[in-house]
């Protein structure tokens, strides 16, 4: 397993092109890199096996975005056929350009999802949560519990489906979902109460001293005011670009205020860490490479935006151009897959203590 921060750096580097680029050729490269990384890392975490679900969602939206774009955007010169102009929205020429643009949009979403799925396969969620700032700590615990719960809920859902089927239950309408959903919710709720009880009994949050009531009120009012200021600043930036530096300054001040408030709130959380993962050579390699990839993409965007720009609509060309330098800059995203074979899988079925021993926990750096 990579160090959490190195792994987050990879996520940032891979997600940046997936979010910002429209060119299907580059997106395909990112997608391929994510897939290679996923196959190399395999299912080492509870959510690692969610790759299939992520990809299915991505393909679903890809399939949806093509007809949606084709029917709603009537720009372009290569007209395939025409729908009667009298039909609202969908009426007009259906163009090849619109179809290609729809596919490119869908591909972009698929690439983003694939990057997150690959990230999931390699991340140690608990370490990630532990790395969250103190004021987000409670939220982090909630996410951690959810991750522990999810595999159990999936099994429970299957069990319920089978049990109701034996009673002659068939899915014919929305109402027929009730026999499946109610037991799932009720079981989940019963479990949640039991868990809450266990956590109480284990003294969870026992040391978090709540401040005086008046102080808590001020903190909440302050947070609210800062959020409003941020909203106003962004509003000014977006709609009154001529408004001068006011919008930018207001937003900046609001963000600084929020950070200060969060820091203040985080002070009340007392906690320590059991496990400090070691930063190893490959983590440095991964982090540095990722930063370089991100810098290259960001640099190209600012210095030579023309090389990244892609739009199938005229006057631009229908087919995307490929700049080999950009392609080469994206290739290092497969690095986690190349470094992976030396890592022992962390857990999963069938791994006995021998592997546990092979990767002795990194307590050394206390």
């Amino acid at each position: 397993m990579y160090h959490t921060w190195a792994w987050v750096a990879w996520l940032a580097a891979a997600a940046l092109p997936a979010f910002t680029l429209q060119n299907p050729l580059y997106l395909a490269l990112v997608l391929a890199a994510a897939w290679l990384v996923y196959t190399a890392l395999g299912r080492s975490t509870p959510l690692g096996s969610s790759w299939g679900a992520f990809v299915r969602i991505g393909v679903f939206f890809l399939a949806l975005s093509i007809p949606f774009n084709a029917l709603s955007i009537h720009a372009g010169e290569i007209v395939l056929f025409r729908l009667p102009e009298a039909w609202p929205i969908v009426g007009g020429p259906i163009t090849l350009e619109a179809i290609v643009a729809g596919a490119a949009n869908g591909l972009s979403l698929l690439a983003i999802l694939a990057v997150f799925a690959a990230f999931n396969a390699g991340v140690d969620h608990y370490q990630l949560l532990r790395a969250t700032p103190a004021f987000l700590f409670q939220a982090g615990v909630v996410v951690s519990i959810a991750i522990t719960f999810v595999p159990q809920m999936v099994l429970a859902a299957r069990e319920i489906r089978q049990a109701q089927r034996i009673r002659g239950h068939r899915l014919r309408g929305v109402r027929d979902l009730l026999p499946l959903i109610i037991p799932l919710l009720a079981n989940g709720l019963e479990r949640a109460i039991q868990l809450a009880e266990t956590m109480e009994a284990r003294g969870f949050a026992g040391t978090q001293v709540p401040g005086p009531r008046r102080q808590a009120l001020w903190l909440q009012l302050g947070t609210l005011a800062a959020l409003l200021a941020l909203l106003a600043g962004l509003f000014i930036l977006a709609y009154y670009p001529a408004g001068g530096p006011l919008g930018g300054n207001l937003s900046g001040l609001a963000v600084a205020g929020l950070l200060a408030l969060f820091w203040f709130q985080g002070r009340g959380v007392r906690r320590s860490r059991y496990r400090r993962p070691r930063w190893e050579g490959r983590d440095t390699a991964l982090a540095v490479t990722s930063l370089l990839v991100a810098a290259a993409v960001a640099g190209a965007r600012f210095l030579a935006p023309a090389t990244l720009y892609y739009s199938p609509y005229p006057p631009a060309a229908l087919l995307p151009a490929f700049n080999p330098w950009i392609g080469a800059a994206l290739l290092p995203l497969v690095l986690p897959a190349l470094l992976a074979p030396r890592m022992a899988p962390r857990n999963g079925s069938g791994n006995g203590p021998e592997q546990a021993g092979a990767r002795s926990v990194a307590h050394d750096s206390f």
Binding site: T45, P46, H125, Y126, S144, I145, I147, T148, Q152, A156, E159, I160, Q162, A163, Q164, R165, I166, R167, G168, H169, R170, L178, P179, I182, P183, A186, E190, R191, Q194, L195, A196, E197, T198, M199, E200, A201, R202, G203, F204, A205, G206, T207, R270, R271, S272, Y274, R275, R346, N347, G348, S349, N351, G352, P353, Q355, A356, R359, V361, H363, F366
Partner: protein
Amino acid sequence: MIRFEHLGYRYPGSPSAILEDLSFDVREGEFLLVIGPSGSGKSTLLRCLNGLVPHFYGGQISGRLSVDGRDPVALGPRGMAGTVGFVLQDPEAQFVVDRVEDELAFALENQGQDPIVMRKRVEEALDQLGIAGLRQRSVNTLSGGERQRVAIAAVMTLQPRLLVLDEPTSQLDPQAAEEVLDTLVKLNEDLGLTVVLSEHRLERVVQYADRILYMPGEGRPPILGEPRAVLGQVDLTPPLITLAKALGWSPLPLTIKEGRRFVSREAGIENGGSLPAAVPSANAGSPAVEPSVVPAFAPATSAPVVSVSHLDFSYNGHLALDGVSLDVRQGEFVALMGRNGSGKTTLLKQLVGLLRPQRGEVEIVDPRSHESLNTRRAAVEEIIGVVGYVPQNPNALLFNDTVRQELDFTRRGHNLPPADDGALLDTLGLAGHAEDYPRDLSVGERQRVALASILVAEPQILLLDEPTRGLDYRQKAALAGFLKAEKARGRTIIMATHDVELVAGCADRVVLLGDGQVVVDGPARQVMGESLVFASQINKLYRDPALLTVEAVLARRARQAKGNGHRG
């Protein structure tokens, strides 16, 4: 260590108190076993010890309670966390973190403990519970027994002076339960940890308990005392003690070893004072066939209603069923036994068409119309007209507002006309609960509602998966009686279970599965008589295949007494 002084407690919104005027002490290092029927307040009592009652539940508490010199009512569960370790029934619902080692460290991290102290405590807890080999594993890959030990280890890292466990083995199979209970005994004996445990598998722990607290419920006062004294007064007892009481053995034997002394002594008297044989062969003086224990096999001429041939099934690359062949005739009561993961549940799901054979065939014959259904081709909707399947966890199917609606739902699913449920609910002891919310009922009642909601479709073949999980002795006896009556009415019953005593009480044939294969298939008496693991307590006591249950022993003695009377 613990001192109750006139403690009383009433749940919010409840008209009557569940605990009333409790006064007793528990000494340091004691192993206290709390027993009693479900709903008698065992869980409530345990939750008082760390302040979950009244802090988590609300309600009114009266009297005084002190645990290790501290007051849980004043301090609440957080304040008591360092003194009292608390473990619940369901190991799955207790985990916060996915990884074993992180789970152990979680509470310490939240206390802001020094990493060096933390490291030491986690290592100690791993060793105390014998789970050092699991430290890197994800909790979702562990077996039930392992999970429960991880849950205990997680509270042990806080170094409690008292360990409180609320039926920690009720969700586990016998092997896993033994694993957990052995661990508790070790913690109590080696570390001197005070243990308060509520449990209904008495045969495993009764010998280790220093004292037993019996909570009868329904407002009657509890009984506290030495195990023998308490067990002598209550009727919620394992077969060995039930028999000992019936035969007037004194002092009560708590283990098979102690019980065998009485058996040898009695055999010695019968044999005219000569030294008893190691296996007291009561067969010598009695007729070879005893009418009360003749297996009620259906006539061999009747055609099988279930026939499985060369069935293979694998999932996730694991061969769950490996060449299983099995014929079941109408009116047979078959028990499927075997370790966890030996393929029992998979086989049941094959019989009802939820899973389809990958190789081999499963044929179901409707005994009324003699129509044959092959599960490869038949739809589940057709099969469930003949076969009913009650899953392990009743919570998986209960969702309606009342018990009656629950039964109506199945009827609609089977396109059956509405009918009166009174008789069925009556035989299942649910007569008063027809309008109750099913999930508010006790485990045993919920299990019976699940059973009823399958039985309304009148399936000719009834499949049961672990029907006794979480039931006490009385509820088990009631279930056995009900199933025997159903069998007498011509229903074919196939039941997957770990419960040796239930099988001894009602099954006539045992199929032992191991690693997806049929290991043994034969009459219950023969299979259980030859096995040590799957032998009932009474069977272990007498080592006589004719004697599996208390009733069989008493019936034989009654006959012998009659015979002697005639002779004399």
